[in-house]
């Protein structure tokens, strides 16, 4: 049901590198879980509404009022790498 190729596709989609060997092992793992999950297909859900939220909460807002920001120094304190007050990452466009 789930092939090594599928695993390689989702592996890239989720930005986790997997080599051939890992992809094969994962395919086997996921296959087992997906087979178990198949049991949901037994249920008739035609007229059932999906639940995204268990609470009937609606319309939760905040007002358009300024709050204190962290500021450049505190924001970049967590950075793996920073330069000129910015987060530094490997070249995005080659």
């Amino acid at each position: 049901m789930i092939s090594k190729k599928d695993v390689q596709y989702i592996s890239h989609l989720s930005r986790i590198y997997t080599d051939d060997h890992e992809a094969e092992a994962l395919a086997k793992n996921l296959e087992g879980i997906l087979t178990y999950i198949e049991k949901l297909k037994k249920l008739d859900i035609k007229n059932v509404k999906p639940t995204s939220h268990v609470l009937p909460l609606k319309n939760v807002f905040r007002d358009d009022i300024l709050k204190e920001s962290l500021g450049q120094k505190n924001a970049t304190k967590i950075a793996v790498k920073s330069e000129k007050g910015s987060f530094k990452v490997p070249q995005v466009i080659e």
Partner: protein, 478 residues
């Protein structure tokens, strides 16, 4: 008895009557940590000095362990994962602010399954936590560090998080009291999300009274969390009346089928007898969609997790790795290598499962279907609570299993949450409390569930049971 072996309410009495000071209590706990934690590994990060607020009310100066997925400002918060190496959040979780305001003394961050993915605390980057009752066994998970810390008296009480049983199952395995509050009762702001629609922070304590007291401290509406309920919070201590006469309690038959350890079943039956004697009425009920809960959960939880954990990509904070050889572009290589090295096996498995079920062409078959089955499961409980005040079940089909026993079989691990997952899907409160021991000396947990926002009912039933048994008084010998 040593100070660190007492409950919070006992310690608060001693402080009130000036028989003990906060400092001496903290020292007792710290001594236990220093003596035991190399063996137990309940902590991911231990603070040498208490983390506290300088201008708090000081009303509750109780040493508390906080699960490693709840943000503490400027203190290592890593979800017991390699990928959050060195991460110190610049803000406090709402529950941490509330605790610090009440005078709490934080001992450190409790160990956990990486990103709360697991039922054994074996997947932590910092190594497995051991069950204080038997060091060969797992403490349960994912809040295994929090449960073990309380059981081993390395903390007076602790906070955990529960997405599919992660507070209740370890409470059951470690012989302590663990509560998953109603979804929306406790703010999730600052809880590093696993599955946003299921996660809830809750207390792990030595008895039911402490559970009520700690819930008092952390509950309430938070404008920083859109999913937090804007409802007033009762004083839970007042629910501990000891009176359960004429309460109607349901026993779901689906929870007593194949796979349940006979010892567990026997103990639950005995617990029912105790409560019957105190005037509760029991009746067998049916929650017909129970068998679909695990499958539903693993679709919804992993889908949400795949998105929630996408941010750990090496761009801003935490770990950043690069492959030795170029594969795609510098930035994509950085992403893929950081996440390859930063996540453990189980995290990768869940992220990929979740990515798969959301990916193009599969959404309806998996995610949408699971959301609909979630509705059916929730309806089961809604129906039951029309007639019943509470539902009683075992917390876990077995007692603590051996370290390594299920590590290679993800599915059998997932099935150990079979009794706890439904409460998260339905959003209802559920608590596990000790109801006996196996002949191997491992604790057994009893689960009490009630309708949304009726934690008082749970406390009432659990407290009455506790008052008429003494399992909770049994101490670990280490």
């Amino acid at each position: 008895m040593k100070l660190n072996e007492l409950t919070a309410h006992e310690l608060l009495d001693l402080i009130k009557t000036k028989k003990e000071t906060a400092a001496s209590i903290f020292s007792a706990v710290k001594r236990a940590i220093d003596a035991l934690d190399k063996k137990i590994n309940a902590y991911a990060h231990i603070s040498e000095k208490p983390i506290e607020s300088t201008d708090s009310s000081k009303e509750n100066p109780i040493p508390i362990a906080i699960k490693d997925n709840i943000c503490i400002k400027d203190y290592l918060t890593t979800c017991s994962s390699h990928i959050l190496e060195g991460f110190k959040p610049p803000y406090n979780a709402t529950v941490v602010n509330k605790l610090l305001d009440s005078g709490a003394l934080i001992t450190g961050h409790a160990n956990m399954d990486e990103f709360a993915f697991g039922s054994s605390t074996e997947t932590s980057f910092f190594g497995p936590t051991r069950n204080p009752w038997n060091l060969e066994c797992v403490p349960g998970g994912s809040s295994g560090g929090s449960a073990a810390a309380v059981a081993a008296n390395e903390a007076i009480w602790a906070l955990g998080s529960d997405t599919g049983g992660s507070i209740r199952q370890p409470a059951s395995f470690c012989g302590v009291v663990g509560l998953k509050p109603t979804y929306g009762r406790v703010s999730r702001y600052g809880l590093i999300a696993f599955a946003s629609s299921l996660d809830q922070i809750g207390p792990l304590t030595k008895d039911v009274e402490d559970s009520a007291l700690l819930l008092n401290l952390i509950s309430g509406h938070d404008e920083m969390d859109s999913t937090s309920a804007n409802l007033s919070v009762p004083d839970y201590a007042k629910a501990l009346t000891g009176d359960i006469r004429n309460l109607k309690i349901g026993i779901p038959k689906e929870y007593f089928i194949e796979g349940i350890d006979p010892e567990v079943k026997t103990n639950i039956m005995e617990a029912i007898e105790v409560l019957k004697k105190k005037g509760a009425q029991f009746k067998e009920i049916s929650l017909p969609h129970t068998e679909y809960a695990v499958a539903t959960y693993y679709i919804l939880a992993t889908a949400e997790a795949s998105s929630n954990l996408a941010r750990f990509d090496g761009v801003e904070y935490g770990l950043r790795c690069h492959p030795k050889e170029k594969r795609r572009t510098p930035i994509i290589d950085m992403y893929e290598e950081t996440r390859r090295q930063g996540f453990g096996q189980e995290a990768k498995r869940r992220i990929m499962l979740g990515t798969y079920s959301l990916s193009s062409g599969y959404y309806d078959a998996y995610y949408l279907r699971a959301q609909k089955v979630r509705t059916l499961i929730k309806n089961d409980f809604d129906e039951a609570f029309k007639e019943f005040d509470a539902i009683l079940t075992p917390t876990s089909p077995t007692t603590a299993f051996k370290i390594g026993e299920k590590a290679s079989d993800p599915l059998s691990m997932y099935l150990s949450d079979i009794y706890t997952i439904s409460a998260n899907l339905a959003g209802i409160p559920a608590l596990s409390l000790p109801c006996g021991f196996s002949k191997d000396g491992l604790p057994i947990g009893l689960q009490v569930m009630a309708k949304p926002f009726d934690e008082e009912m749970i406390f009432r039933v659990a407290h009455t049971y506790e008052q008429n048994t003494d399992w909770h008084k049994k101490k670990v010998t280490l």
